[in-house]
């Protein structure tokens, strides 16, 4: 039955936490109360990507895009939009424009995006398999099972030129081919959903918004390499994604799309969920396999590669969520179609989690070859609060910073490495002039030191040493020799560490030293922190010309370091001051200054 209107409510984690679930329930209640329940379908979808403006509600067929919706708005949306046919202007994203150009594709945030991986996120109810099927879902599986041989499937991936989206960019077809050719009756297919990169949530949103795409792809891989068992290794911190996967697996089994004798083809394949337990290193494939085996997640030397000798010693294909989500489209539309998108080096699209000091935070999917400037300024809307752009960090704790001069580089796997960073899994953190680059490097190093499994010395000891030096520099005790030492240790870690965690851990330090040497010099030589972040290097003082003696700062100071009579200029006692900055926040006259 067709409905007159469809109301799509974002059910991604960010919108859910802003009470999207209540909005969804209220909309259903209101439709009943106002007598239109038969004509309107309310759907809870996956992430729309525009998290900055959440919770988001979209009404079809008008394509009205409502933002920052509250549960109490449900009544008005139904009575005005559904019943009277008038848009609720105050909730529209673009309040100025007329109905005609308020459409989703006219919103700048979406204009330069091209959605393959996120094709269904925000369009379908992820807990209803029929909606996935209605959008060409499981057609690829049918094609793979009945019209293609194992070789055909792998050949299609080769033509497509798909490279792994987990970070390293290894050609997917090669992995599959190694496993296909490996001897053995038992083989495994694994989905890496251990998204540990802080500041990234692409995989979470894909699983929450379109879980079937991953199940379908894994089943296709099972057919291609001759495996009958798959595992999804997912962070325990992602309860909603786990729930939606469980629902999807149950529905797929009921439809004969998972389990024994899939679609009557005689092919058997099933999938189990295994939970991670908060270890970043388990994103590394050999460590991940150890964890699925129930052990401490310690990386193993490669070769042998998991494609030949993986889970319980059997050939195992491991791909990341985003890689999987590309595969059904490649099989349906063909490798040729896919290979036309992107650059010579990297085909297809890439999903980025655009966060930090950016106006439009959210999840964006762009063709490879899009420039950083387009992502940050056109899609992201530039820097929040009109501050000055400083750098973009890609690749998380394994990547580096990219500065203004490289903003016009078309992004692909190769170009990012050439400018000293890396693709990584897709975290893209924007920094502004208020962020201290040395502090950011220290943040990432603290992270990798904490997450190092401790197995090999270069990572365990090298990381700690880098961290200690950065600590020294941010405390104002750095020397010029320290800069050389940072580079020496960093290079040694790159060469000597067992796995990618240790090999890439120095990148945030090395790339910031390279691009922001003057900022390091300021900390070391001038003993100042230009952005005022490093507490030990700043001091607060009161500008006598601006202070009116209101006593507000003195009353708020937690250590009573500020003295002065009413209506007299106040003074901060530097020996007592703990540099908490409360006085600066409190002063309404801008009299407290930071040096």
């Amino acid at each position: 039955m067709a409905f007159r209107n469809y109301i799509l409510v974002c059910g991604g984690t960010a919108c859910e936490s802003s009470r999207a679930d209540q909005i969804y329930k209220n909309l259903i209640e209101e439709c009943k109360a106002q007598g239109v329940a038969e004509e309107v379908q309310v759907v809870k979808t996956g992430c729309f990507g525009f998290c900055e403006q959440g919770p988001i509600v979209k009404i079809l067929p008008e394509d009205s895009f409502y933002v920052k919706v509250k549960p109490e708005d449900a009544k008005e949306l139904v009575s005005e939009h559904i019943i009277k046919g008038r848009e609720v202007t105050r909730l529209l994203y673009d309040k100025e424009s007329s109905r005609k150009n308020a459409k989703v594709e006219d919103i700048k945030f979406y204009q330069k995006q091209f959605r393959i991986v996120l094709r269904n996120c925000g369009f379908i109810d992820p807990e209803n398999i029929d909606e996935y099927i209605a959008r060409e879902g499981y057609q690829a599986l049918e094609k793979a099972l009945f019209e293609m041989t194992s070789e055909d499937i792998i050949e299609e991936l080769k033509t497509a030129g798909l490279r792994g989206r987990g970070g390293a960019g290894f050609p997917t077809w090669m992995k599959w081919n190694f496993s296909r050719q490996a001897e053995g009756a038992i083989k495994y297919v694994v989905c890496n959903a251990d998204e540990g990169d802080p500041g990234a949530y692409m995989d979470r949103s894909t699983l929450e918004g379109d879980p079937h795409s991953v199940l379908e792809a894994m089943t296709i891989c099972g057919k291609a390499i001759g495996a009958s068992q798959g595992f999804i290794y997912i962070r325990a911190e992602y309860p909603l994604a786990i729930h939606r996967l469980e629902v999807a697996m149950k529905q797929a089994r009921e439809y004969g799309l998972l389990g024994e004798n899939i679609l009557g083809s005689g092919f058997n394949f099933d999938i189990e969920i295994r939970l991670g337990a908060g270890a970043f290193v388990c994103g590394e494939e050999t460590a991940l396999l150890q964890s699925i085996e129930g052990k401490r997640g310690m990386p193993q030397p490669r070769p042998p590669f998991p494609a030949v000798k993986g889970l319980w010693g059997k050939p195992t294909v491991i791909n990341n969520v985003e890689t999987w989500a590309n595969i059904p489209v490649i099989i349906t539309k063909g490798g040729n179609w896919f290979s036309k998108i992107g650059t010579a080096d990297s085909k297809g699209t890439k999903v980025f989690a655009l966060t930090g000091k950016i106006r439009n935070s959210g999840l964006v999917e762009v063709p490879m070859g899009t420039t950083l400037r387009e992502i940050v300024f056109d899609i992201g809307g530039g820097i929040a609060n009109d501050k000055k752009f400083k750098a973009v960090q890609t690749g998380g704790p394994s990547g580096g910073v990219i500065t203004e001069e490289n903003l016009d580089t078309p992004i692909d796997f190769g170009s990012l490495v050439r400018i000293g960073s890396m693709m990584g899994s897709g975290g893209m953190i924007v920094m502004d002039e208020d962020d201290c680059i040395v502090d950011v490097a220290k943040f990432y190093l603290n992270f990798t030191v904490d997450e190092s499994c401790g197995k090999c010395a270069p990572c365990r000891i090298g990381g700690r040493s880098l961290c200690n030096i950065l600590e020294k520099i941010t405390a104002g005790n750095g020397t010029l020799q320290d800069l050389d030492t940072l580079e020496t240790i960093g290079e040694a870690m790159k060469k000597g560490s067992l796995c990618a965690l240790g090999q890439t851990a120095p990148n945030p330090v090395l790339s910031t030293v390279k691009h922001f040497k003057e900022e390091y010099m300021a900390h070391i030589v001038d003993k100042t922190c230009p952005s005022g972040t490093c507490k030990k290097l700043v001091s607060y003082s009161i500008n006598a010309e601006k202070c009116i003696g209101c006593t507000a700062c003195a009353r708020k100071c937690p250590v009573a370091a500020i003295s002065g009579e009413k209506k007299q200029v106040h003074i901060i006692d530097q020996a007592t001051c703990i540099k908490c900055g409360v006085c600066m926040e409190t002063c309404k006259f801008g009299a407290v200054e930071i040096h």
Binding site: T13, A14, E16, S17, S18, C51, E52, G54, E195, G196, D197, P198, G199, A200, Y201, R204, A236, E237, Y238, P239, R274, L275, G276, A277, G278, A279, F280, S291, I292, E293, G294, K295, R296, G297, W312, A353, T355, G356, K357, S361, G362, L363, Q393, G396, G427, I429, M431, D435, V440, F443, Y444, F447, C453
Partner: protein, 157 residues
């Protein structure tokens, strides 16, 4: 081990462990279920799991201490998590932790004297668009400012 500390697993948990006993790679899944039921992995619970799965206690302790997700001490009635992922860090995650310390005299990894709150600094919770983020008992609060902290904890006091 005194009898006072002895843990009793619910019948559902016992059934779950028996179901998983024969599956390879069961340990982490079992530990998740145990933590879900009693809130953390106590030494006694680990002993019990060792017996039921027939795995050395040292192996279990090795796994429990390797992974951040497994807790060794009992959390407060309401567990507060402050996200310290990159986006939240840049947007003031530390200021929230400092404010919680001020309000509740509660430091990361500790529990308040009345046992009502515990505090963890966690890696990315995956809501970077809402940075900075804190969660209390699983409920997510986004774009938190220092001034909102008192109001949020008051809801749970």
């Amino acid at each position: 081990m005194s009898d006072a500390n002895k843990v009793t697993f619910s019948p559902q948990l016992v059934t779950f462990i028996k179901e998983w006993k024969s599956k390879p790679g069961n340990l982490i899944m079992v530990l998740h279920k145990v933590q879900q039921e009693i809130g953390y992995i106590s030494r006694e619970a680990a002993d019990e799991v060792a017996q039921m799965l027939d795995v050395p206690l040292a192996t279990i302790w090795g796994v429990v201490t390797f992974y951040h997700f497994f807790k060794l001490t009992k959390p407060g009635k309401h567990n507060i998590q402050v996200c310290m992922g990159t986006a939240c860090y840049l947007k003031g995650g530390q200021a929230i932790i400092d404010e919680l310390d001020k309000q509740l005299k509660l430091q990361v990894g500790e529990v308040t004297k009345d046992g009502n709150f515990s505090l963890e600094a966690v890696r990315c919770v995956g809501c970077c668009g809402l940075a900075p983020v804190m969660t209390v008992g699983g409920e997510v609060f986004g774009k938190v400012t220092k001034d909102q902290v008192a109001g949020i904890i008051a809801k749970f006091s």
